[in-house]
Amino acid sequence: MNMCVLDVVAGEPELSFNYVVLFAVVFVAVGIGCIITVIRKSRS
């Protein structure tokens, strides 16, 4: 893989990379939070 998502090509339309990363962080955090809640609930 020679290219990664950070290599934004000049002049191209851009799906704001920062938003996608923010999306990723939020969803992963909520997903992990969900798993932790389920485990804690099943323990009690």
């Binding site: 893989m1 799906l15 999306f23």
Partner: protein
């Protein structure tokens, strides 16, 4: 021989094969679109692929938890609707970028819901076995390569929808069959938990964490496997075929010979075969098949410790896979020698993790539980 025949006969082939095909169809459509999205704009394409991965993988624990709390709902139906609706939006409005991106979000969500439907259905009918879930998961590899090939050949979009349209009646039939056979028990995991029992007697959180890390390691090193022999499209097809075969065989063999044994043997044998077989196609394919076998074992372990929450348990594997593949979006893969060293360490970790988390060798032999099932 009689033992093997008896074991294989107990598998719910209809549900397993149906969800294998549903999974296949879903991946065909998703990868047909995502492989060819925004062909003229590299950066937009990369961001869209990342967005697709995040939505399709990270939402699964959330969706799983939701549907566990609503056993009367049929997630598969919602999933198919979202998938078709999003895919149509993305294809019809391919020139209007923002609508196309919304389409990606919608069909990625549909993909996630279909995965949860398959995980919950196959986990229920498996009655403690790993085979059904493994067959369901295995279908994805064939879908990914088929979707990529259809996109590469610029086949008319209609053909990417055909498998999904064929899958719908079968999925509805499988859903109806489970509800008729298990009545209240069908998707009410809070009241009627799974019968999987291959996890060691260790704290749940620790097992979930270790198995999640194994999946993550598998996800990452999967991209760094030495495959110098891939030169033609047929080689790529063979790679995916053997990956799918490994996932399916991992479940079947675990049911026959024990999850720990299959998990450890496959981990130990996979790496040398892959490293030696860098230029020898069949050795490498055999190694990749063995490498994929651990999937069924990790999923079975998660089902065993999260018996009330199979959807969330399946979500642990997808979060692991996402976290394993995320670095690739930001950092290019290191050199092959660094990858090989990483592979060795991560494989040792996987073997230790399986030995630590998995202890039971009698998957599917829950006769006490089986007697309690409705006819």
């Amino acid at each position: 021989m009689e033992y093997i025949r008896h074991k294989l006969r107990s598998i719910d082939t209809f549900t397993a094969v149906t969800y294998c095909f549903v999974h296949f169809a879903c991946e065909v459509l998703c990868f047909y679109i995502i492989s060819d999205i925004f062909p003229d704009y590299a950066s937009l394409r990369w961001s869209s692929m990342l967005l697709y991965d995040v939505i399709a993988f990270a939402t699964q624990p959330i969706i799983g938890t939701y549907f566990e709390g609503h056993p009367d709902l049929s997630p598969g139906l919602y999933g198919i609707f979202l998938l078709i609706f999003g895919a149509l939006g993305s294809l019809i409005f391919a020139d209007i970028h923002w609508i196309s991106v919304v389409g990606i979000i919608v069909f990625a969500l549909g993909n996630a819901v279909i995965h949860i439907a398959g995980a919950m259905s196959t986990a229920r009918v498996s009655e403690g076995r790993l085979s059904e879930s493994a067959v369901f998961v295995g279908g994805g590899s064939y879908g990914v390569i088929t979707g990529k090939l259809l996109a590469a050949d610029s086949v008319h979009p209609f053909f990417a929808f055909v498998p999904v349209l064929i899958a719908v009646p079968f999925m509805l039939a499988a859903d109806r069959r489970i509800r008729c056979r298990y009545n209240d028990k069908a998707f009410n995991f809070k009241k009627y938990p799974l019968e999987h029992s291959i996890a060691a007697s260790k704290p749940t959180g620790r097992i979930v964490l270790i198995l999640g890390l194994i999946v993550m390691a598998r996800g990452y090193i999967g991209y760094g496997l030495p495959t110098a022999w891939i030169k033609l499209s047929i080689h790529t097809i063979l790679l995916y075929v053997f990956m799918g075969l490994g996932k399916i065989l991992g479940g079947l063999l675990s049911d026959l010979f024990g999850a720990t044994r299959i998990g450890v043997i496959s981990c130990f044998l996979a790496l040398p075969l892959i490293l030696i077989g860098n230029n020898i196609i069949w050795l490498s394919l055999l190694g990749i098949m063995l490498f994929s076998m651990t999937m069924a074992v990790t999923l079975g372990g998660l089902f065993s410790v999260m018996r009330y929450n199979p959807g969330t348990a399946f979500g642990v594997t997808t979060i692991g896979l996402l976290l394993g593949s995320l670095p690739l979006f930001f950092i290019p893969m290191p050199s092959q020698s660094v990858c090989n060293i990483l592979n060795i360490f991560l494989s040792i970790f996987a073997v230790w993790g399986i030995l630590y988390c998995i202890s039971e060798n009698n998957v599917g032999d829950n006769k006490d539980n089986k007697d309690k099932l409705p006819a």
